[in-house]
């Protein structure tokens, strides 16, 4: 059995800066993954519903608006409620260092801040998805 890693790349909230999300989507594709891209203005509910229907291994969210402390926990809570906490959640964007430990404690597996080479994200996903 050969498994293709599937990743949902989402822009939650109202933030329209999608350069980072697009770059990571392309990089994951070029690393042989299937990327489901949902576009802008997705509510946590929509993101979780899409992740379940698409049966992704990873949800990657990009947030530059400062709403991360609201949006990440919401997605994680919904995943738990729908028995889908096995789906790994990672994030990127403008996220202050001091907020990262809290987010990780809530269940966000990794946060990639500006300047992280995309290959680091690719590696992280490869090494952490249950194959």
């Amino acid at each position: 059995m050969s498994k293709t890693i599937r990743v949902l790349v989402a822009k939650p909230g109202l933030d329209g800066h999608d350069r980072g999300a697009k770059m990571i989507a392309r990089s994951l594709r070029d690393a042989g993954m299937e990327v489901i891209y949902t576009g802008l203005r997705q509510s946590p509910e929509q993101i979780v519903a899409a992740a379940i229907q698409e049966d992704v291994d990873v949800i990657g969210m990009s947030i530059l608006s400062g709403a991360h402390n609201h949006l990440f926990p919401k997605v994680i809570k919904l995943l738990k409620e729908q028995n889908a906490e096995d789906i790994m959640v990672i994030g990127g964007g403008v996220i202050p260092e001091e907020d990262i430990p809290g987010l990780k404690e809530m269940g966000v597996k990794a946060i990639f801040t500006p300047g992280t080479p995309t290959k680091d994200t690719v590696e992280f996903i490869r090494n952490n998805v249950n194959k």
Binding site: G13, K22, G39, G66
Partner: protein, 559 residues
């Protein structure tokens, strides 16, 4: 500028120099790189000589400052006469907190206000909308109604300051609130100076805070053009923005090409709506980015000025010289800031700001060092503002107009960017204009491709970003960051509930109904919006009516 004989002579001498001097040096000391490139990835030659600008005609291509084609500046004395407006983009949390920051900036020498709105405001939702959760007051100030706007400008005389508002899809509603606040201060609309961004096309392409479909958005924009030309004549009705196109990853030439193509679309829409080109074109303004490649950026600003003048004169037959002058605001490049070693950003911002000043900007926002991490603290904003003041008062670059003119490199580069930008405009014309090219995803695709090329160049180390992919350091200094009170959302919600219980709800209903009818018909919607906000109809209510009638835009994402 040079006669042919001289050029031939220079060309011959250059060849000799290459074969004798240069080759000898190169054989012993090869250059650091095979190919040198600009920040936009364009090839740069070792040396520029008069040969590279042999077709340059001084009078036709450069002229004098304040004269067509305005390459050297839109005005004769430029920064010798008046410095640029030091306009710091700011706004966060509640209207009251932002009001404090504005007063601080004015006290410290900022000469214009620039309002940042939070995302719900930018997308026309009130603070109690479900999608607003977690976003209220985060990237800017939350404005739900005239009541918030009154607090925002409390104690700031609106006949004395010029105010720039970064607002697009709901621009008409925020402008209406501004007019209403001014009226309460006893300032009539014809005295108001400032700018609304009001540039929806780049929202579709790069920034994402759109609401309505293209056609309806273009109508709202031309309604504003018309309304302001009669009622708010000193107001810049649009700020056609390349800034966000560049932030999304475009090259310098694309920034010029796509921005001017958007500009062409607005001019065409207004002409189609029956306006005379010279009635609105003088109030069009532009907004560009300033990146790190100093000379390329200076050339970019000069190229944009020349190209727009030519377009307005030749394509649209503008008669009023003011219609041909490209006046612009500049912001230093947010995407060039690094989260690593954030103090380095101070230097980047200084270089970028220098490019804007040398390029002849009319106003400037300098980013703060901590903006790759969060909204800037007061200390960081102060350094950014001081950077502008040092440029203005100590660097000497303001002493003469367009000081880099005549540089073989800068002139060659100016021409190159102009030509390249024109190619994009031609291509967009072939596709039926900017709105159609966006609908097809052409512009988005070009930008995303350029962004991906850059990303790969950074990751391969071909492009060096100090502190990020080279000269890294392990110990990162602890940053003090601005924290937005997480209770802002709740506070705004309470204010809304209170407002709705205190205002004249019957009058609100009536005005919103009148607005609905205007939207369904052909009337200019601006007066109806002004009426509605004066009764404290909320932004969400006003935009809600328009959402009902106009529908919503569906983004064409190109990956």
């Amino acid at each position: 500028m040079f006669d042919k004989e001289k050029i031939d002579q220079i060309s011959k001498s250059k060849k000799e120099w290459e074969e004798t001097k240069l080759d000898k040096v190169l054989s012993r000391f090869p250059e650091r790189k095979e190919e040198f490139k600009t920040g936009s990835g364009e090839k740069v030659e070792r040396l520029y000589t008069p040969e590279d600008i042999k077709d340059l005609d001084y009078m036709e291509d450069l002229g004098f400052p304040g004269e067509y084609p305005y390459t050297r500046g839109y005005q004769p004395t430029m920064h010798r006469g008046r410095l640029w407006t030091m306009r710091m983009y700011a706004g966060f949390a509640t209207a009251a907190e932002s009001n404090q920051r504005y007063k601080y900036l004015v006290e410290n020498g900022s000469t214009g206000l620039s309002v940042a709105f939070d995302l719900p405001t930018q997308i026309g939702y009130d603070s109690d909308h479900p999608l607003a959760e977690g976003e209220v007051g985060k990237v800017g100030v939350a404005i739900d109604s005239l009541a918030d706007m009154e607090i925002l400008f409390d104690g700031i005389p609106l006949d004395k300051v010029s105010t720039s508002m970064t607002i697009n899809a709901p621009a008409s509603a925020l402008l209406a609130m501004y007019i209403a606040v001014a009226e309460k201060q006893g300032v009539s609309a014809d005295k108001l100076r400032g700018t609304i961004q009001n540039d929806i096309l780049k929202e579709y392409v790069a920034r994402g805070t759109y609401i309505f479909p293209t056609e309806e958005s273009m109508r709202l924009i031309t309604d504003i053009f018309e309304y302001c030309s009669e009622n708010v004549p000193k107001w810049n009705t649009i700020s056609i923005s390349g800034y966000h196109i560049r932030e999304a990853g475009s090259t310098a030439a694309q920034e010029v090409g796509f921005t001017l193509a958007d500009g062409i679309a607005y001019v065409e829409a207004a002409i189609k709506a029956g306006l005379d080109v010279d009635s609105f074109a003088p109030r069009l303004s532009f907004f560009f980015n300033a990146h790190n490649d100093l000379l390329e950026e200076v050339a970019k600003f000069r190229a944009a000025r020349r190209l727009w003048a030519r377009i307005m004169k030749e394509r649209f037959g503008a008669k009023n010289p003011k219609s041909m002058m490209l006046k612009f605001h500049t912001q230093t490049g947010g995407s060039t800031l690094t989260a690593q070693q954030p103090d380095n950003n101070v230097v980047r911002v200084a270089i970028q700001a220098l490019a804007a000043v040398l390029g002849g900007t009319q106003s400037l926002h300098t980013n703060s060092r901590d903006e790759a991490l969060a909204l800037p603290t007061e200390d960081s904003v102060t350094i950014a503002l001081r950077t502008q003041q040092i440029l203005a008062n100590e660097s000497g670059v303001t002493n003469t107009v367009d000081p880099l003119a005549g540089s073989y490199y800068v002139e060659a580069k100016t021409k190159e960017i102009e030509d390249e930008a024109m190619k994009y405009i031609d291509k967009i014309d072939d596709l039926g204009g900017a709105p159609k090219a966006i609908d097809r995803g052409y512009i988005q695709q070009e930008i995303t491709d350029a962004a991906y090329d850059y990303q790969k160049a950074v990751e391969s180390g071909e492009v060096v970003v100090v502190g990020m992919n080279k000269y890294k350091s392990d110990k990162e200094p602890k940053q003090e960051l601005l924290k937005v009170d997480p209770q802002v959302g709740e506070m705004q919600k309470e204010r809304l509930t209170k407002l709705k219980s205190e205002r004249n709800n019957e009058a609100v209903e009536e005005k919103l109904e009148a607005l609905r009818k205007a939207c369904e018909g052909d009337d200019n919607v601006m007066p109806y919006i002004v009426d509605a906000v004066k009764e404290y109809a909320t932004l969400g209510e006003v935009c809600g009516v328009m959402r009902d009638v106009f529908g919503e835009y569906e983004q064409n994402v190109m990956l």
